[in-house]
């Protein structure tokens, strides 16, 4: 069994590095660097998921976010070659900063003010199989809707980026 101290230490280490990477996404001046830091953030978040004993979600996170979405972002950056890649801010930077700070304050207040009904639960034993059952029993309709959504998104993306067939590569 995993030592409890190890989990706690891992959580704080991963959390700190994740937050640092997330801040770097906002701070770096190069959009490609920002994407790479975002990948690190995604991997860190996956680590957090593991600590929260959600191994399937964690692996799905790495596969989809770090593997696919970051590649999509890179693709989009490369497909917009003439665009600005400085990762700069608009005039709304200040208001956004203030708003973000306020929101953080509110959330922290709410988090500490609320009485969470903590269940002294151990780790989930097998999540993947349980998740599968959840998808196909109570959540079958959302599951199917999600697949429809994915198909729609796929078709939509193809339609949006389709070129006329004059110079098919």
């Amino acid at each position: 069994m995993i030592d409890q101290t190890a989990v706690v230490v891992a959580f704080y280490v991963i959390a700190a590095s994740t937050v640092a990477c997330a801040l770097m996404v906002a701070a770096v001046r190069n959009l490609v660097h920002a994407v790479l830091f975002l990948v690190l953030t995604f991997v860190g978040v996956a680590g957090i998921y593991v600590v929260l004993s959600a191994d399937f979600v964690a692996v799905a996170q790495v596969l989809i976010y770090a593997g696919a979405i970051s590649v999509l972002l890179t693709f989009a950056i490369m497909l917009t070659p003439g665009a600005d890649r400085r990762n700069s801010e608009t005039v709304y930077q200040g208001p956004a900063f203030v708003l973000a700070g306020l929101l953080l304050a509110v959330i922290v207040f709410v988090v500490y003010d609320t009485d969470w009904r903590i269940a002294g639960r151990g780790e989930f034993a097998v999540t993947a199989a349980e998740l599968g059952r959840a998808f196909f029993k109570p959540y079958i309709v959302p599951f199917e809707v999600a697949s429809v959504l994915l198909v729609a998104a796929m078709v939509g993306a193809i339609v949006l980026t389709r070129e006329e067939a004059d110079d098919a590569f």
Partner: protein, 437 residues
């Protein structure tokens, strides 16, 4: 013989199952009053140490195997001077690489440039940690092992992009862009190929997949031949190996993503490529070839040795394709994934789902169903491939393969050249003789 096996089993010197050894060591620590965290750390280090040792050896051995095997295929000897059978040659190469100066272009993106080789190495090593090396020999027994290995193999390609982008070199950028396009494309068939297996075995745990094969005495390659091929091809694309080594494409873009790397940074790329190759071979050996299980053989020969043997059997396939096939063009490779492998994998999943449904709903015995499935799936794979080649394959038949033979000179009159001839596009007359060499 069997008496001997009974005697040694479950003892630390039973090398058929190295977990006995590690358990013995941990027991010793615990008996000596070692603290709990020490046991924890040592148990992690034992497994990790074993895997890292294997990787270190494999990186050396693989270079040697690749060079010797390809050398044989190319009717030459390969390295055979240094050490027995030239086994020390890779070590000499590594020493040479370490001595070389690590150059870094002034315009390179320093951080990205340095991180890329490391990021490229890690996923391959991590994948080896979740594989079942023997009956109880899994370092990290993940329930979602199959998804984990897919996630990790997608990260390696991202590292390749990082290196190519960070080099700030045009050729490297070509490699980077190619690898991104290939990653987006080849992720899909490889996921779909393994999805069929997961459906069939009903588990994503790699150790359970091996146990499934042990239970039914059936290496899954027999029941899933098409996913084996699809996964093999798409992973050779992800591994940058000929015929899909477009990201480095020596003859086109002069090394692609690692064109600017030198010294041990390049060495790391080179070694990591081999490690990733071993990782993919190990995955294929686990899920398709039965991992450590080999009928009754694994009761006598240590399972992990059989597993390593299977890894190298698959690795030989990679070397073989590399030694024999030319490279695709990038658009052909992508079209191959989208138009051939993805639809085939989809059809395969439907078939597997139907088979699993028949199995679970009718409750017929596995002994009856599985041979039928093996036959059906084998025939189905052949039919699908033949059908696709027939209907989707490139149509080269309009061009004759062979040239014509003329016994004398024959220069046609051309419109732009001698006289205006309205339909003088036909070149030459009928061949005057068919030459025989």
């Amino acid at each position: 013989m069997s008496a001997l096996l009974t005697i040694i089993s479950r003892n630390w010197y039973d090398i058929r199952d190295l977990s006995n050894l590690s358990n013995a060591i941990l027991e010793r620590i615990r008996d000596a009053g070692g603290p709990g965290w020490l046991v924890y750390v040592v148990s992690a280090l034992l497994g990790a140490g074993g895997i890292v040792a294997f990787i270190g050896g494999a990186a050396i051995i693989n270079i040697w195997i690749e060079r010797r095997v390809v050398g044989r295929m190319q009717s030459r000897l390969g390295p055979n001077r240094l050490g027995p059978f030239g086994l020390l040659q890779p070590i000499a190469d590594a020493i040479k690489l370490m001595q070389k100066e690590v150059l870094q272009p002034r315009v390179a993106d320093a951080l990205v440039f340095s991180v890329a080789p490391i990021a490229f190495t890690v996923p391959g090593i991590v994948v080896l940690a979740v594989l079942p090396w023997g009956r109880n020999m899994t370092l990290a027994d993940l329930d979602v092992g199959v998804v984990f290995i897919l996630a990790m193999s997608s990260l390696a390609a991202l590292a390749v992009f990082t290196g190519g982008y960070g080099s700030n070199n045009k050729y490297a950028l070509f490699g980077a862009m190619r690898v991104i396009a290939m990653l987006v494309t080849y992720e899909i068939p490889s996921v779909l190929a393994l999805l069929g297996l997961v459906l069939f075995t009903g588990t994503m745990n790699l150790a359970s997949i091996v146990l499934f094969q042990e239970k039914y005495w059936l290496p899954l390659v027999l029941v899933q031949p098409l996913p084996f091929l699809i996964y093999f091809i798409s992973s050779s694309a992800e591994l940058n190996r000929t015929p899909a080594d477009l990201a480095e494409a020596e003859s086109e873009i002069a090394g692609g993503y690692h064109v600017e790397y030198s010294g041990m940074k390049f060495g790391l790329f080179y070694a990591a490529e081999l490690i990733n190759c071993v990782a993919i071979s190990a995955i294929m050996a686990t899920v398709f070839l039965g991992g450590w299980w080999t009928y009754k053989l694994d009761e006598i020969v240590p399972g992990w040795m059989l597993f390593i043997g299977k890894i190298y059997a698959v690795y030989f396939l990679f070397v073989w394709t590399r030694g024999t096939l030319p490279r695709f063009r990038i658009d052909q490779l992508l079209a191959f994934a989208w138009k051939w492998m993805t639809p085939m994998a989809f059809i395969n999943i439907v078939v597997v789902a139907a088979e699993v449904l028949i199995w679970t709903e009718t409750g017929w015995s596995a002994g009856l169903l599985l041979p039928v499935y093996v036959a059906v799936n084998g025939a189905f794979a052949v039919a699908l491939i033949v059908g696709w080649v027939r209907f989707m394959g490139p149509k080269f038949s309009r061009f004759p393969d062979r040239p014509r033979f003329y016994s004398g000179i024959d220069v046609p009159s051309l419109p732009a050249y001698r006289q205006p001839a309205p339909e003088a596009t036909g070149i030459g007359t009928a061949p005057s003789s068919t030459g025989v060499a």
